[in-house]
């Protein structure tokens, strides 16, 4: 752990989440500091996505406590939670097929100060500029992923919840996304990254949480990572 602990961005304690009858999360406790990049690792169905959805308020029901910069959000409606400065990129990317690229980009409302300008976005993602008049789902998978990222960078969100952003993408695009993560971390964004394995963010992540059957099985810091690969491989079933 770094010696000077950054101020808290997110604190989750005793979180339980449910979809109808099924109980998905069984008491999650985690803390993310401002500017940290943290990954949630685990197998499919372990509950990683549900943690992200709980933070933004998209699960059936949740109990416990989730504080964003000290504000309790457990009873807040989703759209209000977003206004605390959250940006969410869902696993299926969530590009709207009835909206153009430009409309997709402009859809999320501003949730904080200092969002990237449209010009900066197009500089960062030149492909989107060329294709801004196309309908959202005409884009390739990689372009859709860029768009899903770009639209939350515009809003001034400072806590990014990113769900498996590299899934199914070509290695060259994964490489671009890794560089983007580095840039965002440098700019001071706080990032929670859901991933299948630790390779994508090994150099960037401050800490890794291993999620297993709805609980946190392990917390591994960047320093502990080299010594923990065997243990991780066991959890992740590699």
């Amino acid at each position: 752990m770094p010696e000077a602990t950054p101020p808290e961005m997110l604190r989750i304690s005793g979180l339980h989440a449910f979809y109808g009858e099924s109980h998905i999360l069984h008491g999650i406790d985690l803390v993310v500091g401002e500017g940290e990049l943290v990954t949630l690792l685990g197998r499919n169905g372990a509950g990683r996505t549900t943690i992200l959805k709980s933070i933004i308020g998209l699960v059936g029901s949740r109990t416990g406590s989730i504080q964003v910069r000290g504000v309790e959000t457990i009873a807040m409606p989703t759209h209000k939670i977003a206004h605390l400065g959250l940006g969410y990129c869902p696993e299926e990317r969530g590009i709207f097929s009835s909206l153009t690229v430009q409309e997709n980009l402009m859809l999320p409302v501003a949730v904080g100060p200092g969002g990237l300008s449209v010009a900066e976005i197009f500089e960062m993602f030149p492909n989107l500029l060329e294709r801004r008049g196309s309908m959202g789902t005409r884009l390739s998978g990689g372009e859709q992923q860029m768009l899903a990222m770009a639209r939350i960078l515009r809003t001034g969100a400072s806590l990014l919840l990113l769900d498996e952003i590299t899934e199914g993408l070509a290695p060259v695009i994964v490489q671009t996304l890794r560089q983007l993560m580095g840039q965002l971390k440098q700019r001071g964004f706080t990032i929670i990254l859901v991933e299948q394995n630790f390779h994508f963010a090994a150099d960037l992540a401050d800490r890794h949480y291993v999620i297993d059957r709805g609980t946190i099985a392990e917390m591994i810091t960047r320093e502990q990572l080299p010594a923990s690969t065997e243990k991780l491989n066991h959890y992740l079933g590699v």
């Binding site: 409606p77 989703t78 977003a82 402009m106």
Partner: protein
């Protein structure tokens, strides 16, 4: 067959006149279905209510206020009726429909069907089922217009014109503006739209209010043409649902175009074989359901 150009055109124009009502009403249903996933069976009753706001505003509101010479005029009714009915819609959504959102569509359909029966029942109890004439038609819209091939009532020209403006205006707002992009996104994936900081519950309430407001607007337009009666909505809505099925649920442009076309088909059928004009839309519905179940403009699942 003795079909003169004039006979055909006059029936097609009258058909178009019916068609614009189908278009406005099915447009409202499409907008509501898109965002709320509710088949709004109370639509016809609210169309009727719009006509009654115009009728009662014209001949009852003055005496009620102690000013017998006061009449809510036609132009004011075009604004007031959608606002009154829209407000009622907001109330219905906030107190009833909202609670059903977690359940199957069928419950929304049953609830709105029940509401339609209640509203229609109450009006049947107090008003003349055979209908009352609306006397508030403005002087400027009386008389006929020479269209070149026929003389056509000026009021009906106005109804066709303003309805097209309202329909295509609504289409434009939904398909081409920022506000519309929220609506389209909300129709696709409301949960994600919430996660982007947009107040979706409020958007749903206002959309419902707008959709039923359109029905009330159509009701006011209808008041000077058809007699205002408690059953005018239920007669209209059955045809409108057939139009919606043919066009495909949820498509904005589809509902407008289908409404207009089917009105004209109905008019044309009156010339060819008049007895079939009441059933031709349902015949088309059956054929469309067999050949393209998602509707002419519907997206295949």
């Amino acid at each position: 067959m003795g079909m003169s150009f004039q006979t055909v055109m006059s029936q097609v124009m009258l058909g178009l006149n019916n068609g614009v009502f189908y278009a406005i009403l099915s447009l409202g249903l499409a907008v509501i279905f898109g965002l709320l996933n509710i088949v709004n069976f109370v639509h016809g009753a609210l169309y009727m209510l719009g006509a009654y706001v115009a009728l009662l505003g014209f001949n009852q509101l003055g005496p009620l206020l102690g000013r017998p010479d006061f009449h809510l005029n036609y132009w004011a009714a075009l604004i007031v009726a959608p606002l009154v009915v829209g407000a009622l819609g907001v109330l219905i959504e906030k107190t009833m429909l909202r609670r059903l959102r977690k359940f199957d569509h069928l419950y929304g359909l049953l609830l709105t069907f029940g509401l339609a029966l209640i509203i229609q029942g109450v009006f049947t109890n107090y008003f003349n089922v055979s209908g009352d004439a609306y006397d508030g038609k403005p002087e400027v819209l009386s008389g006929v217009v020479d269209l070149g091939f026929m003389l056509f009532p000026r009021y009906r020209v106005w109804v066709i014109g303003i309805s097209l403006v309202v329909c295509f205006g609504t289409w434009f707002v939904i398909e081409r503006t920022k506000l519309g992009s929220y609506l389209r996104a909300g129709t696709e994936n409301p949960e994600l739209v919430k996660a982007f900081g947009i107040n979706v519950p409020l958007m749903i309430t206002l959309t419902y209010g707008f959709g039923v407001g359109l029905a009330a607007f159509a009701g006011v337009l209808a008041a000077p043409i058809y007699s205002v009666s408690p059953v005018m909505g239920s007669e209209m809505i059955i045809t409108v649902f057939a139009v919606v099925v043919i066009g495909g649920m949820g498509s904005i442009m589809g509902s407008i175009v289908t409404g207009l076309l089917l009105g004209m088909v109905e008019g044309f059928t009156k010339v060819v074989y008049a007895p079939a004009s009441g059933t031709v839309i349902f015949l088309i519905m059956v054929i469309v359901l067999l050949v393209k179940p998602a509707g002419l403009f519907g997206k295949e699942a």
